[in-house]
Symmetry: C2
Subunit: 356 residues, 2 copies
């Protein structure tokens, strides 16, 4: 159990910016919004899944939309409205909130309604990274129903996705709703039990994000290499390092889609890496060969300083280092890969685990 | 109070095909579906608004989508699923159902869930014609909330539009949902009171549709002019008569939009009429001058036989007579015109009432 401080928020923003694999919403904006919420409504307690009471009712809240839009149309209190809508619909009060993903601003999105409603948040999430689509959560892969869920905008509109024949249909209907709402909205899913959280969530992820951010800051302060500090905190490897020479990006069907091309520098001077993204980085090809692929994590950080570079901020000339991290084990099962493996994103490729 | 017979359904299909001003969903398909429902689940009673018990809870049900799609993807029991969804959401059981519009298949859509749930339907509707958009109902113009409402598809997906800042937002969110559902869905609105129905509905519309259809059939049987019989039953006028020489039609943003061009014959030999439609006929121009405009009714019937010609069936070579009928008085108030007058459809024209 710990309380989130303003320093923690800065560290989580950095750590979740890395773990978000390019997506999850802009981490800096998320940090500012969470900080304002804590200043206005009071501190938020973080509970590990084991610390949840057995009768806990845990609501997953998150932002949905395209990060390219989210940096211009900053979210307000939509996640609180979505929380109240799903509580009203189910007739159950939340006793704790949980992140849908430990990526970007979504890592701290639950802190805003948590501060407003005086609820704790769980030190866990539904991805252990970020993924672009609603149904891509370990909760739903391992049997938690994805409906009913509420979607709310900043204007006062709210929709309940009441029942769908598959989790993918919930994504489809929520995405169409979000597009109408201006490509930026928040959602809340019907409450889970403590047992469901313990069985299906990726644990310890807020703590990991905080430790990653803290390690980066410490390294910078001490004149050490932040990238080495990241890899010492979270086992992974350097996939590539170079300069962004092209970025192709379009906001379409409610997502930011595109690809970034990086020419190698130093040890990688002969190579070129191309990374495709759909909000998040999905596949990294080095000279045409797959170097890392979903559900493994492909994370871009500034070569100088280790600051994460999310897809909506990627631009020509940036010097970036691309890191790879193995996916949480819940994603590399057949059930996990069916939902968020290469084929789920339309790639005609088998998942080949990253070796670290 | 009367019970709907199979003969009545045939007459209503014809009458609602005329009153539907080209839209409301294909009347023939609606007739077959309603007939099957009555055969399978039993007869349906029609109550006038005055016959409703004062504590009645009246649910408006209807189809939503593009008629061009509806003739290929025939509706099933979606309106029953939508009814059950809104009953569950509101915690109130419907005691009667009401048509959203007395146009095409939507005139009889409530008969299907009514037969299944053994409920009566009200001899009234929310338009007294058909309009393409959800918010264009006299109910909502005169203060009945348009939300919550449920939207359901044939697969098992259902959505509650819980709360919106304006009725137009309900249309926008329901339309986006419908498009995802395959451009054909059904909806049910939270229950109204008997008083709300009496105050805001267009009364007597099922009876009027039945009488119109019956008059057409009688005229045909007697060798009389069916068009004269229509005008004797429902005061209106012949706007034009001729041959369809062009039809431009596209299914876009969840609607069937386009225009039809008709070259005059006989008394109208020197003229050309162009009618714009968005599911329903909106504006008829004779040689470039407005001859009839929403909310007044622009109705196409076969010159020979008086059978209504809905926009999805309009085609080159048809001989059609275009009839105009004055809109119900609830539409010609400033409040009514704000919702369904020329400007609501983007026309830079004032409403000029049809003189009969």
């Amino acid at each position: 159990m710990w309380q989130v401080t303003e320093d923690d928020l800065a560290h989580i923003a950095t750590g979740a910016g890395i773990l978000g694999t390019g997506g999850g919403g802009n981490p800096y904006i998320g940090r500012l919004r969470a900080r304002q919420a804590i200043r206005e409504w009071g501190p938020v307690t973080v509970l590990s899944p084991d610390e949840l009471p057995d009768n806990a009712r845990v609501v997953c809240v998150g932002g949905i939309g395209a990060p390219t839009v989210g940096i211009e149309k900053v979210r307000d209190l939509q996640s609180f409205h979505a929380l109240r809508a799903i509580e009203e619909y189910t007739g159950e009060q939340a006793t704790a909130l949980i992140s849908n993903e430990i990526g970007g601003s979504n890592s701290v999105e639950p802190l805003i309604p948590a501060a407003m409603a005086a609820l704790p948040v769980v030190d866990a999430d539904g991805m252990g990274r970020a993924f672009p689509e609603f149904q891509m959560k370990t909760f739903f892969v391992y049997g938690v129903p994805c409906c009913p869920m509420a979607v709310a905008d900043e204007k006062g509109n709210s929709v309940i996705i009441r029942d769908t024949i598959t989790p993918h249909w919930a994504e489809r209907l929520a995405r169409a709703t979000t597009i109408q709402m201006g490509c930026v909205a928040c959602y809340a899913v019907a409450p889970m039990s403590a047992d469901q959280v313990r069985r299906t969530a990726i644990p310890n992820s807020l703590t990991l994000a905080r430790e990653l951010g803290s390690a980066v800051e410490r390294a910078r302060d001490n004149g050490d290499d932040p990238i080495a500090a990241i890899l010492a905190t979270c086992p992974g490897k350097v996939l590539f390092s170079g300069k962004v020479v092209d970025i192709e990006r379009r906001t379409t069907a409610g997502f930011a889609r595109g690809s970034v091309t990086i020419d190698g520098l130093d040890d990688f001077a002969d190579g070129q890496m191309v990374i495709d993204f759909q909000n998040e980085n999905l596949i990294a090809r080095l000279n045409g060969e797959i170097a890392c692929i979903v559900p493994d994590l492909i994370c871009a950080v500034a070569t100088d300083g280790g600051e994460p570079v999310t897809t909506e901020l990627m631009r020509y000339g940036l010097r970036v280092t691309i890191l790879g991290f193995p996916a949480p084990a819940l994603w590399t099962t057949p059930e996990g890969l069916a939902v968020a493996g290469p084929k789920a994103f339309g790639y005609d490729a088998e998942y080949s685990p990253l070796t670290v």
